[in-house]
Symmetry: C2
Subunit: 192 residues, 2 copies
């Protein structure tokens, strides 16, 4: 019996993430998941008390992965502020395109776990550090970095939503993003 090792939780999450990517969160069925993984339909209950708990765990794992990809992109883009900012935006958009349904789930208004908000904060801490760097270099105006970063972050998230909803073609995304970043920097310089 292969799942008496305490890894059923992990196996379920992996299978669930695949289903969400391929068919969306609405199509995710606990019973089908249990079948795919080769376990009885009651087994997932030990690890996820109900369907929403599994979705919450998926969203949390999504934030962890998104945070890691953002950090990797920023770290790989050298020392200068602007290339790092562009790399972060690019990584975000890449995530949004590869995992549109997961991103939708991450920002869905149905969560209960407070741990999710902290997972999101952890993921976006990279962006906050980036704003701090921009302020230290005088490229961004002084003030609450969270407040300043929120404007740009909202734009990026909105762009992702528009593409996810089919209101914007994926091909239009790079232009929108560079427009948004250019405008963000322009507006900052005008105020600094």
């Amino acid at each position: 019996v292969p799942y008496h090792h305490g890894n059923l939780r992990t196996v379920l999450l992996e299978a669930a993430e695949r289903t969400v990517r391929e068919r969306g969160a609405g199509e995710l069925s606990l019973r089908e998941l249990a079948r795919d993984v080769g376990v009885s339909h009651g087994a997932p209950r030990r690890h996820f008390p109900d369907r929403q708990a599994l979705l919450d765990a998926l969203a949390e794992a999504g934030f962890d992965r998104l945070g890691a990809e953002l950090r990797a992109a920023v770290d790989g883009a050298g020392e200068e502020f602007e290339p790092r900012l562009e790399a972060a935006a690019g990584a975000y958009v890449r995530f949004a395109m590869d995992d549109a349904a997961l991103l939708e789930l991450m920002f869905a208004g149905k969560h209960r776990e407070a741990t999710l908000a902290t997972a999101a904060d952890r993921a976006f801490s990279v962006l906050l550090e980036l704003i701090l760097q921009g302020q230290a270099e005088g490229v961004l105006e002084p003030g609450d970095p969270e407040r300043i970063g929120l404007v740009l972050f909202s734009t990026i998230q909105g762009a992702a939503t528009l593409v996810g909803g089919g209101m914007l073609l994926p091909e239009q995304l790079p232009q929108l993003l560079s427009d948004a970043i250019a405008r963000f920097l322009r507006g900052s310089r005008a105020a600094a």
Copy 2:
């Protein structure tokens, strides 16, 4: 027999919109809807071939209403560009807070009807006209108005998503919005 008047479709949509507002699109059940409305569970099928068709119709009605509210807000804000822009943003945010689940549904990545995209275009035509006014008055830089408006619109939509997902408190929304608009205008003046 009250529903032989051809209005079952309308009655279903109204009841469905109430359910979505109160409990979210995921909780919407065709059978429960039919019960509430006093009709057999097979009856909705005449008007909506399946559940997704009902959701699509709800989203389309949502765009129509959003468009009307945007237009009313802009029309009621006088002749000047900036107050009109602020009124539009305010109306959008009001819609996002009153009908968070509906907005989520409207931008969900699960639609099939091409008519939905045109309904969205219709709703956002108000914003496009607003950009044209800003360009005519020299407050916004020249260029493709759709491209220019997209940046601001993405920001507003992103802010709505963040609030809907619980990542941003509703109280923080007005400040974020005025920041976004101020920055948008600042960036435009710098380029004009």
